[in-house]
């Protein structure tokens, strides 16, 4: 089966910020990755984890645990990988000011975005510009050959 080219399909999928959507989100990612070339299993596992962490971060921090807020995921198939853009209207944050987590076992959190950063090939964050606009988090993962 031929891999979709860059000009081929893009997918938009809306979620709400309820953590009960996590299962659905991971199914969605698996569906998106169904026909990727190379090591599909590793590629899918990495993206499921990365998207799961981004979703939790938005739900807990950007939306302060509110369960009914919009999260839009935009998928762009590219020649050598897939780009996911995750949009939310919550409180923006400074991605570049996040501390490196403590690995000594003293703290139980702060690993989420570290995991994302370590597992994808590109991570960008564009904070919203005023009321009613969207924060954009963009990740890109190259196929695992």
């Amino acid at each position: 089966m031929e891999w979709k080219s860059e000009s081929a399909s893009k997918i938009d999928r809306f979620f709400t910020s309820n953590l009960s959507q996590l299962n659905l989100l991971r199914y969605f990612v698996a569906e998106v990755c169904q026909q990727v070339p190379g090591d599909k299993e590793t590629f899918t596992e990495i993206l499921q984890l990365a998207l799961n962490e981004i979703f939790c971060n938005i739900s807990s921090h950007a939306y302060n645990n509110k369960k009914d807020q919009p999260i839009l995921i935009r998928v762009k198939y590219q020649q050598e990988g897939i780009e996911f853009e995750v949009l939310d209207q919550g409180e923006p944050f400074d991605l570049y000011a996040l501390p490196i987590p403590n690995f000594s076992g003293k703290t139980e959190g702060g690993f989420g975005l570290y995991i994302v950063r370590k597992t994808v090939d590109r991570l960008e964050y564009i904070p919203k510009n005023g009321q009613g606009t969207w924060n954009h988090m963009i990740i890109y993962k190259q196929f695992v050959r």
């Binding site: 596992e45 499921q48 984890l49 076992g105 690993f111 995991i115």
Partner: protein, 112 residues
């Protein structure tokens, strides 16, 4: 998530019956394990992960919390039968340096 506790030579072995340990499950999982520790005065805890195909940072956080509770009582937690996804995330945040892991329950239980 349903947990099945069984006692093996003073080691409390708990099998996680769910497929994932994510942000929807981690809080309840942590509370249930702490309740088991309290009820059985368990100091040696062994978690059988063979059903768990997915873990996220929140699930890892719950394991660190359990480790802290047990360490403060002079106890310890070990893990067996991690699937590929669980092992790779575990190693990514260096948890394999804090919690010992084994390929089988039998091997792990005898290590206490």
């Amino acid at each position: 998530m349903r947990l099945t506790p069984t006692l093996h030579d003073q080691v409390m072995v708990v099998t996680l019956e769910g497929d994932h340990l994510d942000a929807t499950e981690s809080k309840e999982f942590k509370e249930k394990i702490k309740a088991i520790i309290k009820e059985y005065h368990a100091k040696k805890l062994f978690l059988d992960f063979h059903h768990v195909n997915f873990i996220d940072s929140s699930g890892l956080g719950s394991l660190l919390s359990i480790l802290k509770v047990l360490n403060s009582e002079g106890g310890n937690v070990k893990i067996a039968c991690m699937t590929r996804q669980v092992r790779s995330v575990f190693e990514l945040i260096c948890m394999h340096k804090l919690i010992e892991t084994f390929n089988s329950v039998e091997e792990g239980v005898s290590s206490f």
